[in-house]
Amino acid sequence: MKLIDHSIEKFFWIAAVLSLSITVLIFGFMVILGFPLFKGGQFFELLSQPWLPDYGTYGIYHMIVGTLSIAFIGLVFAFPLSLGCSAFISVLGPKRFGQILKKTVQMMTGIPTVIYGFVGIFLLVPIIRELFEHGSGMCILSASILLAILISPTMILFFSDSFDQVPKPFLDAVDALGGNKAQKILYVILPYSLRGVITGLVLALGRAMGDTMIALMVAGNAVALPDSVLDSARTLTAHIALIIAADFESLEFKTLFACGIILYLFTTFITLSVRSFDLMPWRRK
């Protein structure tokens, strides 16, 4: 019996070490393969230059702008939507209907992003094109709307879980004071679950930045620096997917490691900020 206990313990230990080392190894792999760029001092140039392979500049500045703008605008769309939706599920709506809604949202988390991209091309892109008459309709706006739909379930489930954790006596106290549901949300639930809300928000941002398919299919992938949300743009992830086909030894291909490192650092930064937020002493009054 003790032997089994022991071996199970070992097994989990190995699993933990393995998954940790894979994460570290991937980063190491990218740094090593991208090393020629660091050595030549090109790495920081890449961050500020445009992508003009015909003229010998392989900068990824425009893709960084593309990634950040699509992800943040997506978040701007998704946040109010998710907040409202989870408030409806947990407090405002009829209980039964809220449950149905929650189940639907749970189902939405399993939809592959390529489906959203596909639907976006045939439904959303033509509408955007005809509505604004600016460009092909494959643009930052279209991509962010779809991303908003993609990341909303993550946020909705996270938010409504943390709303549900508000102790019942608090809620009863609001009722006893004669407060209505809106006041309940605004003055008790939101302040109490602020930490959960922010964590959900940051996680959703990470998901938005890491998504490839939607941007690749719907954002248009133009390499020019976008000057409006109706311009088409290329994200880092879509850029990697497009350039991966290039000659392995070309400088174009090598710059992909810079893209990879940047993306990795972005997501690591996001995860770390969530963690540190969790660890922070948090006073509730």
Binding site: P126, G220, N221, A222, A224, S232, A241
Partner: protein, 275 residues
Amino acid sequence: MKRVICLAWISVFMIAGNLSAFAGNLNLFEGMKGTLRIAGGTAHIPVMKEAAKRIMTFNGDIQISIAGGGSGVGIKQVGEGLVNIGNSGRKPTDEEINKYQLKMFKWAIDGVGVVVNPENKVKALSKTQLIDIFSGKINNWKSIGGVDKPINVYTRDKASGTRAVFWKKALDKGEITAKANFVVSNGAMKSAISSNPYAIGYVSVGYIDKSVAPVALGGVVPTLENVKQGNYQIARGLYSNTKGEPSGLTKKFIDFIFSPEGQKIASEKGFIPVQ
């Protein structure tokens, strides 16, 4: 129920009939075994898929995998020994041939045609207009006789042989605007153009069907016939490349592509067979 069974029998006979009719060229693969990996040019894919389907139906011991990636990838991967056959929609450069000891097999000729959405009234362009459209100098359909809407330029990534040929022969190596939308294959180009009334792009002539409208260039429409006659100049060979002299299954596959049946597949898919 009876009808269903009847239909099933008819289809069985039809399949059997097909098989026996083509068995002549497929006999090459009698008793063969193994796997064949093919990658590269996306224009080649319809032909490769059909050939692979027939071969694998004929002999279940053969596995053929087909990947895209573009001409650059095809040449690179076959050179590095990652695949057995690397397809390219352009002739490999002398540098590439020397570096990898490539052996080229040109089995069809393909045109690269400018296409617009069928709704678009503009069906003919001069070369100068085309160059100006792709460089972004002309950016509204109105100035070339169309509706008052901005032109949406679609292009392929740099690993594409279709792009390489189009850029060299149609655009005279002119610039392609940075505002152009990028798509990843001939198929993706076709679906992008067919769903956008203000789009312009270029595809392999083999891919042109009712969903997109070909645009005459200097008075010549990119059709199979015009490419065949040599009237339409923006054409290229479709190559399958191997590292060194092919042998075994690889050789058999290339022989099959050059056989009457293989060449017939090429012409059915909209290319001009070489034999």
